[in-house]
């Protein structure tokens, strides 16, 4: 009986993993700056860190993503790897202390909140806010 249970348990994630994949994000879209241009004064990011990130970057769109659950370096590795697979991503910075991920996209990129949210979720974390800035 235990073997049968183990076999079922081994098989069950293969069946239900995809539908479960979006179950666990708990952030609300209300009140967030999704796909919104901001003036720079209200950026929710460390200004020094942001300035350093922007060095030598021109003609880009910047996405500043607030992430829940990004508590360790090891947890954040997948976020960096996932976004760098996107050829429109020129640079990425992970700010563990503030739970932020800053992504520089090609200016031609149409930044999509749902796309970013799914990439964060594929790493097991949740996006709680997104700000977009065109430079």
């Amino acid at each position: 009986m235990k073997k049968i249970l183990l076999t079922l348990l081994l098989a069950s994630p293969l069946i239900c993993a995809e539908q479960d994949n979006l179950d666990m994000h708990d952030h609300s879209h209300e009140g967030h700056l999704h796909d919104t241009m901001v003036d720079g004064k209200n950026l929710n990011v460390d200004p020094d860190r942001f300035d350093k990130f922007m060095e030598e970057l021109t003609d880009v769109k910047i996405a500043i993503v607030s992430v829940k659950g990004m508590v360790c370096d090891f947890c954040a590795r997948g976020i960096e790897k996932t976004f760098l697979k996107d050829k429109s991503v020129k640079k990425i910075d992970v700010d563990l202390a503030n739970g932020k991920v800053i992504i520089a996209y090609l200016k031609s990129k149409n930044i999509n909140s749902d796309e970013i949210e799914k990439k964060i979720l594929s790493n097991g974390q949740n996006m709680s806010d997104l700000q977009v800035l065109e430079v």
């Binding site: 073997k3 659950g69 508590v71 090891f74 996932t82 563990l96 594929s122």
Partner: protein, 201 residues
Amino acid sequence: MGIYKIIIFSLVFLINIDARPISYSGGTTIMYKSDSMSNSFYAHYSPTYKYSIGIENVDDKFFNESYNYLRLTYLLNRKNTNISQRNLYFQSGISVNNTNNIFYGIHGDWETRRWFTGFGYKYVENSFGRDFKDRFIQLGVAPYLGEYGDLHTWVMLKSKTNSLTNNRSTYPELKFFKGNTLLEFGYSDKTEWDLHFMYRF
């Protein structure tokens, strides 16, 4: 204190844990573990962040046998907040050499950048007629908060019991990780040397 004394001092207070038993979607992990009970090599793949499947080769020192487990770890529950993450995992394995050898259990953790707590329970059935339980609890603190890409260190206290040997041991431990690599090793007078190496790609 010289560097060798620091290293030896650190080695004395270390032990292994299963850190992040599931990777990010599409991630592959290889692990090597060695302690007084067994040596094992384990490779797993995570199709999604919710589960991993893999195979583990175990060189069992207690029963003087070698076997392979087909393993599954499933994320039962995760809670992400701005400052913490909490996880509850189901883990299981069945031997491909002898299907009477199985194990199953749960383990969980809660951590912030500074604090860590974890527990685990594992029940092992085998063809040797000596089923046993492994249990542990764990507390940890990060002595400093590194930036992304830095060398990260955890100082921990772990207590574990094994019903097969009736050993209960409680002792400090350290964990280091940098980039895709994690290394843990330690020593206890009851369980002797432990080593855990993990690489994720």
